[in-house]
Symmetry: C2
Subunit: 425 residues, 2 copies
């Protein structure tokens, strides 16, 4: 079959969006967090909107079945938000669940069925202890092959990719630390972030705490010295240490989509979907021998650039799936921002900081903003939408023209990758 360039039957725009704070909230159900996200989203619609105008919902969630003892989440959210009997569909792509929900909302509008759709995602992870969270996240792998036969944990899978990368390209643990430092720096400017302090502040807090407790006060020289200390930063799965891993989080996010034809009824700041792309992959053994790059991400990236008619150089900012620091390195290569093997070195040289030409994870990323897995995809979209409109508050990028932003959302180790490019009109 001839590979044709993908095209939507009609244009789709983002007209609103919101998110709960990400963190751990023992007193709240997942649905409560979605109420917070939705309430904010309605307030962001420039010219206002009547919630009755929302015609359908797509809700991304990985496994509330495991995390919260609740399935069939679509109708729960429709009912909780007062939107029943509107159709509400839960979509699942592991940690890419709400990236996929965003995509389904786009296609539902492009299909002609709906003009206005609410898409979002949520995950309430903190009810379970960390050990059980690992069990639940492990369901994103090919369980009989990767867990039962090969004995992998979820961090173990990414650690394997990270060590393969380091072996092949000669990078070190210190390269990964630069991702940690950067994303915590970015998160410090994000009031919704789970960790909205810099690593230096975290380090100073630990010193102060130790002093108050009368315990020895470590003499860490800087953040890198702090990260080398196995006390605050113990090994998880070599070469990934605690501060290489995104946290266990609760949170929700959502986006309101409209057909491009009617978007100006709701806002003067029109941001449209320039590309939506998704791809899948099996376990490592099907990857053709190279696990330093995620095949589904490369495929989806190529399709996204083709659909938008742009190149990696045209992207002004990107939110990528840094569930682990090493995943961010691989992401910026799979997206074509850097050549294979150059990403780790580029990150260490500051080529992805908020002062660089193409900042990565200005929101703090999964690492610092938090990673309530089903909420991550639409939270990425929200950051890009806010930046493109100049509405990102204290972390707004300034002194540059922002036209194109990209989101890169990965389920499992690339079982699902979904990539979107948004464009300010």
């Amino acid at each position: 079959m001839v590979q044709r360039r993908r095209k939507l039957g009609r244009g789709v725009a983002v007209i609103g969006g919101g998110m709960s704070r990400f963190g751990t909230f023992p007193e709240k159900l997942g649905r409560d967090l979605m109420v917070e996200a939705y309430t904010e989203a309605l307030q962001t619609v420039g010219k206002g909107m009547d919630p009755k105008d929302i015609e359908a919902l797509y809700i991304g969630n990985f496994t509330s079945d495991s995390f919260e003892d609740q399935g069939h989440l679509g109708h729960i959210i429709a009912d909780t938000l007062g939107l029943a009997p509107r159709p509400a569909t839960r979509v699942e792509g592991a940690c890419a669940s709400s990236g996929v929900a965003f995509r389904e909302g786009i296609m539902a509008i492009a299909s002609g069925m709906y003009d206005i759709v609410l898409v979002g995602g949520l995950e309430k992870m903190s009810l379970l202890g960390t050990e059980h969270v690992q069990d639940a996240l492990g369901l994103a792998a090919d369980v009989p092959m990767e867990r039962d036969d090969a004995g992998y944990t979820f961090p173990g899978l990414y650690a394997t990719m990270a060590s393969a990368y380091m072996a092949r390209y000669g990078s070190t643990r210190e390269h990964l630390m630069h991702v940690t430092v950067k994303n915590h720096q970015n998160g410090s400017l994000n009031p919704k972030a789970q960790f909205n302090v810099t690593l230096r502040e975290t380090m100073e807090q630990r010193k102060k705490r130790n002093a108050q407790r009368g315990e020895p006060v470590p003499n860490w020289r800087d953040e890198f010295d702090f990260l080398m200390d196995p006390g605050p930063n113990p090994l998880v799965a070599w070469p990934l240490y605690l501060f290489d891993c995104s946290p266990v989080s609760d949170g929700a996010s959502c986006i309101i989509l409209a057909s491009e034809e009617i978007a100006r009824n709701f806002t003067d700041d029109v941001v449209t979907v320039a590309a939506t792309a998704q791809a899948s992959a099996g376990p490592f053994s099907t990857w053709g021998g190279d696990i330093t790059s995620i095949p589904s991400a490369r495929v989806a990236a190529r399709q996204a650039y083709e659909m938008a008619g742009v190149t990696p150089k045209d992207i002004n900012l990107a939110e990528v799936h840094d569930c682990f620091t090493a995943a961010e390195i691989i992401a910026i290569e799979d997206l074509g921002f850097f050549e294979p093997g150059k990403g780790a070195f580029a990150a260490a040289e500051g080529q992805t900081t908020r002062d660089s030409d193409r900042p990565v994870n200005i929101s703090g990323g999964l690492k610092a903003k938090g990673h309530p897995v089903g909420a991550t995809g639409t939270a990425q979209v929200l950051e890009v939408w806010n930046q493109l409109r100049g509405k990102a508050g204290p972390r707004q990028l300034t002194g540059r023209d922002l036209r194109l932003g990209l989101t890169h959302n990965v389920g499992g180790t690339g079982g699902t990758t979904v990539i979107h490019i948004l464009e300010r009109k």
Copy 2:
């Protein structure tokens, strides 16, 4: 907002479909069953097709997380069927999961993104004991409200609706038995059905078994007498007894969809999607006092008829969601086939048998065909597609013009309802 008539941007047709046998298969994973369904589906494409032409997958599944210790099912199925890196999205609407998957596939094609899409569903339920199956199915309810506060089990919810119906309309347990007898009769003609014997045959088998074992042989006069015996038909939740309930099943089903423009490249028997409709609802307490009818089903039915431009009288056959016998009674009223309160009596009068004007659940329904919950929606579509094309084998309806068939697929107690109307061109 003005309620506009829903319309797809372009037409969508069914060009293939298949299913595994439904039953309990201890030696098979859910993915193995999908291989069987997919293999059959490829063979049913009239003029043949290259699997490479499939551009995307939508996989309906309720909770493989709970049933099979496997999440992120989309990529598993894409990889297993050799279809990676094509995008594969799992959609979940409890027992309506693959009805929803079918709908997402339709919209994906109508959106212009794809020309050919594989949609399907699967569930592997039998690994868990019946008690744990109940726990897993219970996740389809609003757990904090319906299970934790109100103390409902899943059969208990439908039993409450059934007893409310009987109290309001004066029907009895015997009316429900007619649904059981009919659906087993239909299932006896379906070689893929979990129970492909009539109730009378089941009754005779039990007699023979008792005789062989030297146990007393009951003198059941007929199927109704058999169903009144608490030995073979014990109480589950009054007024629902064992033979009022669909079984615990393993199975998979799938459908191949194409844009209407290209459908004739694949088949001369073109069957198109005349309507797709979906609606949601919260728990009983939000239903306005009447629990003898499912609000989301009424809304979805009205939208489906509007979209197709037809009335209930125009429907030639229907596959409805008889997870319990009482659910079939409520379904045929919600669909407008019978007035409220008349369905139970109509069923007892034989107005829904395969010899009637508008047969219901010719396949055997969930009751006799089996109900691997995520597989049910596309299995319903498969039956209607086969009947409309005259390809339903020993249970083909004859001596009548079949033009319009309807599927009615319900998640939970109507948290999600999805209705489709297919039309033979």
